[in-house]
């Protein structure tokens, strides 16, 4: 690597020196100084192209050396199978243990829902014999909604606001929360504005059972989980 750099740095000097010698030879053969220099340049050819081609020779030397190193390493490993076995086993165990521990931490600490009792969390869903008459209905996420007229057992996950109040006051649950799709929102700040999908999440009644972890970030995490919850009915 260092050798190639030094060789290239001195290339300019070498080429100048070469043309100088040729010029000198031409003068000795009886040319005028100007003629001699011109003839020498012509004989040498395109200096820029020569420099480029010479540089290309060293272009991928690091890659070649790297491959050489890898081949050498593999050869050495093959030569001492005992050492290779120990090294591979150590790495395998290390990686395996790390993966196992991380899976556990991921499941217990990172993926658990940011609520007090994740196992008691339920998602309400309605099922009816006939499709209800609604003045606008909003469904969200991947909740299966079937409200077509004449459908067998129409169902959905969205409730009217009075219905939500009823459920809250029924005191069956230690806490209730509702959320609704807010539609597209315009997010501006540092950088270009982007369109995001928002969720409306009424605060007071819901914040109680959402644990005291910072809400930002947790909420989206919670939302994705809510959409996968089983319905109690």
């Amino acid at each position: 690597m260092r050798r190639s750099k030094r060789m290239l740095e001195e290339l300019d000097h070498d080429i100048r020196e070469h043309i100088e010698r040729e010029t000198q030879g031409n003068i000795e053969r009886g040319m005028t100084a100007e003629e001699a220099r011109y003839a020498a340049m012509r004989k040498f050819g395109n200096v820029t192209r020569v420099k480029e081609e010479t540089r290309e020779v060293w272009n991928f030397i690091w890659l070649e050396q790297f491959l050489q190193d890898i081949r050498f390493g593999l050869r050495m490993l093959r030569k001492s199978p005992g050492f290779t076995a120990v090294a591979v086993l150590t790495l395998a165990l290390g990686i395996g243990a790390n993966t196992a521990i991380f899976s556990l931490i991921d499941a217990v600490m990172l993926r658990s829902l940011p609520v007090e009792n994740p196992s008691q969390l339920v998602l309400l869903k309605w099922v009816a014999r006939n499709a209800p008459n609604t003045h606008g209905y909003m469904s969200w996420g991947d909740c299966p909604t079937n409200m077509q007229r004449g459908a067998q057992n129409p169902s959905g996950c969205s409730f009217s606001e009075p219905m939500f109040q009823e459920i809250t006051q029924a005191n069956v649950f230690s806490g209730t929360a509702a959320f609704a799709n807010s539609g597209r929102l315009n997010l501006t700040g540092n950088g270009p504005a982007t369109v995001i999908n928002g969720q409306l999440f009424p605060g007071t009644s819901s914040a109680r059972w959402v644990s005291n972890r910072p809400l930002a970030g947790c909420l989206t995490h919670l939302m994705t989980h809510l959409q996968r919850l089983p319905s109690p009915f």
Partner: protein, 120 residues
């Protein structure tokens, strides 16, 4: 040089310049200009070597470890790089030379079969 002169000269085949450099250095180390002059002189000016093309070739040979380079002062007391054939390069030259002989012989046999048939 005149155009007439140019016509009588032959351009080098791809890859032969490396061989010529190695052969030239077999006689002892030399700097770039001397190598170019030696090739011209020893081929009776038939081979047309663009002197600049010598440099990529020299660097290629250094990279492969066939020649080494050392600093020195030339006959007129100027700083110059001297290129020297390494043991690896010597081996390579022997291998390439026999390969070249085979190649030249084969081409010659194909191009001049009549001569052989005409022989008594």
């Amino acid at each position: 040089m005149s155009t007439k002169e140019q016509k009588q000269r032959i351009e080098l085949l791809q890859g032969t310049l490396d061989l010529l450099i190695l052969r030239t250095l077999l006689l002892g180390s030399a700097h770039g200009h001397a190598i170019a002059k030696a090739i011209e002189f020893n081929s009776d000016d038939v081979l047309q070597v663009e002197q600049g093309s010598l440099y990529p070739a020299l660097h290629r040979l250094i990279k492969r470890g066939w020649i080494s380079v050392e600093e020195g002062t030339s006959e007129n007391n100027r700083r110059a790089k001297f290129y020297r054939l390494t043991a690896k390069g010597r081996k390579q030259l022997a291998a390439e030379t026999s390969k070249w002989d085979k190649f030249a012989g084969a081409i010659a046999r194909i191009l001049r079969p009549a001569k052989q048939e005409g022989e008594p």
